[in-house]
Amino acid sequence: MRFFRQDLHTLTGAYALDALEDGSELTRFNRHLTRCQSCASEARGFREVATAMAFAATTEPPPELREHVMTAVARTRQLPPEVRTHARPRRTRGTAPWIPWLSGAVATAAIAVAVFFGLGQAHTQNELNSAQAQNRALAAAQARVDAELTQARQHDQALAEILGAPRVQLLSHGTTKGGVAVVVLDAATRKLVVATSGLPSLPAGQVYQLWLIGPVRIVSAGLLPTARSGVTTPIVATGVVKGDKLGLTVEPAPGTKQPTTTPILALPLPV
């Protein structure tokens, strides 16, 4: 055991130079670092040596690199601070915690909704009052969406993947029957997540059905779950193609193959 520890300790050098191969040895050493204070501090010192070696290798890059990076930066969303305190850069890739991001997205949606109702409908005092009431209701509803999404984390890996994708678009739009749909679209994987709030409840025997409405075909994207407190839990739709709109119709339960009523929402999906 003593020998084993000693053996691990001498790996600080190779570790700091990224010379441990990925796999069990690296995993074991990372674990060791969390327990061995002196190893961690030695590795930090060695990393500074490595940094000096990187600076010593300073090379002028091709001039176009700057523009490429800045263009990419201008359209790349930043990740929020990590919840864990001692994450290393290597661990950040592909493991973005998506819950805080989602909270941000839902908050953004709430603002979008507030603007939508605030500017679009507040022509009279009466309407303003009702819009404000609606905003309050929506804010509460959005908080609920947030809570629902937190719950969904355990169940729905697909959801997490979309919401953790590097570039997503947030869309939201009111329906002709009132209420609003909030969509998180990942154009790269052609998937989206939809949640709604404030849709009128339907009589028994009717359901809300989502559609991907394209120029050459219409496909069902599933039924909206039954709303709780006016909010439907997020569902995932896949296979979005160029020119598709996200449609929402009221259909007889348990849904239909093709829409039979006029869509109450037809939201263009930019993929």
Partner: protein, 198 residues
């Protein structure tokens, strides 16, 4: 001569003047808040070492440019994850750069290309020597590398600049795994003391 030299020379892990490093930490804090101007400054300060270390490991200029772009974008995306307790901003950024270069060579696709290119590698020590010219950092690193035993120096340069795992280094230098681990660590201890890293 090289426009990056003045920037590079602000990195002073060795001396009392750590202001350069401090500024970088501050810049990164602003970057984390979405400040693109701060990012541009950070870019100008760090692109030389980032591209340099990637280029040293990968050799192929177009692959290096690609990886450098990924790294700098990762710095932008994950700036909020930077933890000063783990080391300075310069270390954080160069560590990402080195790791991504390593990731690239260990991915199967790049491996074959690189095999070709490393076949006629000039001795690692000369690679450092060729760059020496004016930069204080280069001079210091070179001087400190010179103070190592030959096997320590070769182990460290093959691992860091060559991007080899310590197992590969052991193979290349024909020594045991245990010996290589020790040589790398002893060499880094000497380098650390020589560079004055606390």
């Amino acid at each position: 001569m090289n426009p990056n030299d003045s920037d590079a020379s602000r990195f002073r892990p060795a001396t009392a003047d750590r202001r350069g490093e401090q500024d970088l930490d501050d810049l990164l804090v602003h970057v984390a808040r979405g400040d693109q101007v701060a990012f541009e400054t950070l870019y100008d300060r760090m692109v030389g070492p980032v591209y340099g270390v990637i280029r040293r490991v990968l050799r192929d200029p177009s692959q290096s440019e690609e990886v450098a772009q990924e790294v700098l974008l990762e710095v932008w995306r994950t700036a909020a994850r930077f933890d000063p307790a783990m080391g300075g901003a310069a270390t954080w950024v160069t560590t990402i750069a080195h790791r991504r270069a390593i990731d690239r060579i260990r991915s199967t696709k790049a491996a074959a290309d690189r095999e070709q290119k490393t076949a006629d590698v000039s001795p690692p020590h000369d690679e450092v020597a060729e760059a020496v010219e004016a930069s204080l950092d280069r001079e210091r690193v070179r001087r400190c590398l010179d103070s190592l035993t030959e096997i320590q120096r070769e182990s460290i340069t093959l691992a860091y600049y060559g991007g080899h795992s310590y197992r590969q280094v052991a193979e290349l230098l024909d020594v045991t795994l245990g010996a290589i681990k020790t040589r790398i660590r002893d060499g880094l201890i000497r380098m650390r003391d020589c560079l004055g890293v606390s």
